[in-house]
């Protein structure tokens, strides 16, 4: 545990350092990156040692403000969640070395680095917090520091709005968490996490729902995900990578933690988590499909992946409730694995998107195209990331999904509710998988392939060195986990050892299966190489020509005729209507010689839309009406006092 705190101190130094030397731009960036990276590396040791030596749970506590103690404990769950924090964060910092190029904004960059370091530290503390005040403190610091990271480009109106939305959700979520903790405290009278299991079952459900909503608002469960598609695009890309790759996982961590602490094998928890997970996953990916903004699309895809993780958790919880050990084990392990995987490929994708944004100056898919040739490294790594996030073998995303599938299939033999839920989990995973493929073929195919649709895209160049290196590293990780999943899955298995009900299962048989998967992946790659060689052979000494794409008889094709993201997704979106409303704006054709007309569609987020229409608007109207109270008339003000007295005397 000492090493852990030492590493946090080093990271903090790495954050404070830029504030001191912000006048030397390059020195500042390099220094901060190195120090933070060193800190993170240091932090990995205790996390890994807890994971590898089973049952080592270090604990530290110190008194705070007379009535609290700040106590930290690193068990396997915390240690596992520390991995993405300490792996992705330094990489994102490294990436930012070439991403943050505006020398004139040197001080602002320094502030960004400062809050970034705070965010890393606070996330690590959240993962290790062991009582209510500690957790609340770390959680709030995390929220506030990430808020400042989101509003980095505050001149931009959209950024401000995103920050606004994010902050509200962060605070609202925190309040719900406080309520959940307070409810527990009201029974235990103790701040420590350890006593949570002692509260009555009826209270546990309420606590769980409150905490689920609170953590869910951070993780981005439907319909509390509204802030995500705003905040992630608004933040600088390395921040998006950390937020999407790591920070929203802290919400997941919270859900797991509260579940583990409550320790109730009730079906209801699993049902809630699973159903919300399915809704989140499907609606997330459909919204992603409908969006043409690269970073927004990725943000929705994060929502989708949170959905997948929740499905995994839900399956695990149902497994615990029905005493189906294997189901519990694989559900949880799959969720853990997906947490790790998602942090890797999502940060890779956000970094890729950042590189595109940096060079092509636009985030709209409908304005990009042909970047594969102009940004070969970014394009190829992005392709790998897309394959991984679509859950396709032999890349990492598949492994997590496979575990979850495997867990869900274990539930197929159960009766009634459990069976139907498992079946629904499988179906929704399949649907999500299919739609994710559609979504990422769209992203890769339209943004990176084909011809550039605008001048901006045509003039894009390759990203800077540090950006390229980071992306290559992450892409290799995706492939590595996909081909050699065993050690990583073992880590996930170790991760869930402290999740009591699931920890007892012996996964020896499954390791065999993993090796098979790994063999299959290897076999597939071999086959692929073989066929490629064959293809090479077939083309040997043959004439290979080049010409324009065949226009199907159309003689003068232009780049604007290419299929756009909007049209690509249109029919799929249509399939999911009423749940995915589409706003259409069309001026129509009026005169005999029609002038310019405008046609424009936008895929709306049902949660955002409905919440705004049905709740926010009427509520604000009510508030506006109530403003009459302060009308400025002193006579009535005195009448208020009199009325208050009369009412109180009557109630005496």
């Amino acid at each position: 545990m000492d090493t852990f705190f030492l590493s946090l101190a080093v990271i903090l130094c790495g954050g404070v350092l830029p504030l001191l030397v912000h006048r030397q731009f390059t020195v500042m960036k390099a220094g901060s990156c190195v120090v933070v990276a060193a800190g993170c590396l240091l932090g990995l040791f205790p996390a890994l040692s807890v994971l590898l030596q089973q049952g080592v749970a270090a604990r530290v506590s110190l008194p705070w403000l007379h009535i609290f103690t700040l106590s930290f404990q690193m068990d396997s769950i915390s240690a596992f969640f520390l991995l993405p924090i300490f792996i992705i964060s330094p990489l994102a910092m490294f990436y930012s070395f070439h991403y943050m190029e505006k020398k004139e904004q040197s001080f602002r960059t320094a502030i960004n680095y400062f809050f970034n370091a705070i965010l890393i530290v606070s996330m690590a503390l959240v993962a290790c917090a062991d009582n209510i005040p500690t957790f609340a403190l770390a959680w709030e610091i995390m929220s506030v520091s990430s808020y400042f990271l989101v509003v980095h480009d505050f001149q931009n109106k959209e950024t401000r709005q995103a920050g606004y939305l994010y902050f509200i959700f962060a605070q609202g979520g925190a309040m719900l968490l406080f309520a959940a903790f307070a409810l527990i405290y009201s029974y235990t009278g103790d701040f420590a996490f350890a006593g949570f299991a002692a509260i009555p079952d009826s209270a546990k459900l309420v606590v769980f729902i409150l905490a689920f909503l609170g953590f869910g608002s951070k993780a981005g469960i439907f319909p509390l995900h509204i802030w995500l598609p705003y905040a992630h695009p608004a933040a600088p890309s390395h921040i998006s990578a950390i937020m999407s790759g790591v920070m929203i996982k802290m919400g997941i961590y919270g859900i797991i933690r509260i579940y583990a602490l409550l320790g109730v094998p009730s079906m209801v928890f699993g049902q809630i988590v699973l159903i919300v997970g399915m809704a989140t996953g499907v609606l997330g990916v459909v919204c992603a499909l409908g969006n043409q903004d690269v970073k927004k699309l990725l943000a929705y895809s994060s929502v989708e992946n949170i959905g997948i993780i929740l499905i995994g958790l839900g399956v695990g919880m149902i497994g615990v409730a029905t005493k189906t050990e294997a189901m519990a084990f694989f559900g949880f392990a799959g969720a853990f694995m997906h947490v790790l995987n998602h942090s890797i490929f999502k940060s890779l994708l956000f970094m890729g998107a950042g590189a595109v944004l940096h060079k092509a100056k636009t985030r709209s898919i409908d304005q990009l195209g042909g970047l594969m040739k102009r940004m070969p490294v970014t394009g190829r790594t992005f392709l790998v990331g897309s394959l991984a996030i679509s859950g396709l073998p032999p890349f990492s995303g598949f492994i997590g999904e496979f575990l979850i599938y495997y867990g869900s299939f274990q539930g197929i033999h159960l009766q009634r509710t459990a069976f139907i839920l498992s079946a629904l989990a499988i179906i929704s995973l399949a649907v999500i998988g299919g739609l994710a493929t559609a979504c990422f073929t769209k992203l890769v195919g339209l943004a990176f392939l084909g011809e550039p649709r605008t001048e901006k895209a045509a003039q894009a160049g390759e990203a800077g060195l540090s950006m390229k290196l980071t992306m290559i590293l992450l892409a290799l990780a995706c492939l590595l986990i996909g081909v050699l999943p065993e050690p990583f899955v073992r880590l996930a298995f170790r991760g869930i050892t402290d999740l009591q009900p699931a920890g007892a299962y012996n996964p020896a048989a499954f390791i065999e299966l993993l090796r098979n998967i790994s063999k299959t992946a290897a076999f597939f790659i071999a086959l692929f190489l073989l066929v490629s060689l064959l293809r090479k052979g077939l083309y040997w000494r043959k004439e290979v020509g080049a010409g324009p794409t065949w226009g199907c008889g159309f003689t003068r094709p232009t780049v604007r005729m290419q299929y756009t993201g909007t049209s690509y997704a249109a029919s799929m979106i249509d399939f999911y209507r009423p749940f995915v409303p589409v706003k259409t704006f069309y001026t129509g054709i009026r005169k005999i010689f029609p002038g310019q007309t405008i046609y424009y569609t936008e895929v709306l987020d049902i949660a955002e839309n409905k919440i705004h229409e049905m709740i926010i608007k009427p509520f604000f109207h009510l508030l506006q009406m109530l403003r009459w109270i302060q009308h400025g008339n002193i006579h009535l003000y005195i009448a208020y006092i009199v009325a208050a007295i009369i009412v109180m005397l009557l109630l005496l």
Binding site: M372, L449, Y568
Partner: protein
């Protein structure tokens, strides 16, 4: 050894079977039709040729055919043909196989998008769309099988004493599954009424339009891959129809390929007597298959206690 032979035989025979469909269609239309070996001729011709690549395209375009071909071959490697144990098999292989097919599709789609052609984009969008629905059906079938038989690989589904087929007590459910699978077959292999491979209007096509720009050996790989894919789905249905558990391997093989031929004929007949659906009716068609298997899955709550 037996497995290798069976696998190689399948790869060799697949194009021939595809030609049966053409023959049947021609027969019903009252024409003579192409020779049965037409697919082999086409493949040979294509393999001999060189290629022309679009200036818009990148390496992804060349990767597409290879990956999609490999993915289908992989699936066949795991599939028990005529009751013969497949080359590879392990518990849980179905999922990785379905996902490998997804990988193939992924590359087909982005290869199509790589050409910057609006028509190919259109085809790609449809392919992506319909396959999301078909995939859901397949997964329901998997879970249904898992519930019936407790196994998790093609080999275990269709071989051994607990093999799933029409001769088992749950046959009524399997009827639904077979119909659904047939629909999926039509969808995934771009047959009428979902797609019309013979049409000459790019706007109405799905799969064919995606490969407009491919030529030479690339196209050959795609064609061969398509034949193998059709072979796989037909074999899937065939296995459900009959348990290939006779002691005589040759007899098994004979029945297998006869049933296969029957399915191809059925596809041919379907193609002849049906018109292609309007694009927006296709999802409904595929959803029918989903509904069928989902219904079957729910019914298992009564059957399997």
């Amino acid at each position: 050894m037996e497995s290798i032979v069976s696998f190689c035989f399948a790869i060799l025979v697949a194009p021939l079977l595809s030609a049966i469909i053409l023959k049947v269609k021609a027969f019903i239309a009252g024409r003579k039709g192409p020779p049965l070996l037409i697919k082999y001729y086409t493949l040979a011709k294509l393999f001999k040729k060189g290629s022309v690549y679009s200036t818009s395209s990148s390496f992804v375009f060349k990767l597409g055919p290879v990956v999609s071909f490999c993915s289908v071959v992989m699936v066949l490697l795991f599939f028990p043909l005529a009751g013969i144990k497949p080359l590879l098999s392990f518990h849980g292989d179905v999922i990785i196989l379905l996902y490998l097919m997804g990988l193939g599709r992924f590359f087909t789609i982005i290869a199509a998008l790589d050409t910057a052609s609006p028509f190919e984009g259109m085809g790609a969008a449809r392919e992506a769309y319909f396959s999301t629905l078909a995939e859901a059906t397949l997964f329901v079938i998997l879970l249904l099988f898992y519930r019936l038989n407790g196994s998790f690989s093609f080999a275990a589904f269709f071989t051994g004493p607990a093999a799933i087929n029409l001769w088992s007590p749950t046959a009524s459910l399997l009827l639904l599954v077979i119909v659904a699978l047939f629909i999926v077959l039509l969808t995934e292999n771009s047959r009428v009424p979902v797609d019309d491979p013979a049409t000459h209007l790019e706007l109405t096509m799905i799969h064919e339009v995606m490969i407009l720009d491919h030529s030479g050996p690339d196209l050959a790989l795609i064609e061969l891959g398509a034949s193998l894919k059709l072979f796989f789905y037909s074999a899937f249905i065939t296995c459900l129809l009959y348990p290939f558990q006779l002691d005589n391997g040759y007899l098994n093989g004979l029945i297998f390929y006869a049933l296969m031929g029957l399915i191809y004929v059925l596809v041919g007949i379907t193609e002849s007597i049906m018109a292609r659906y309007k694009m927006d009716l296709v999802p409904k068609f595929i959803l029918t298959s989903f509904a069928l298997v989902f219904f079957a899955a729910i019914l298992t709550m009564e059957f399997v206690q």
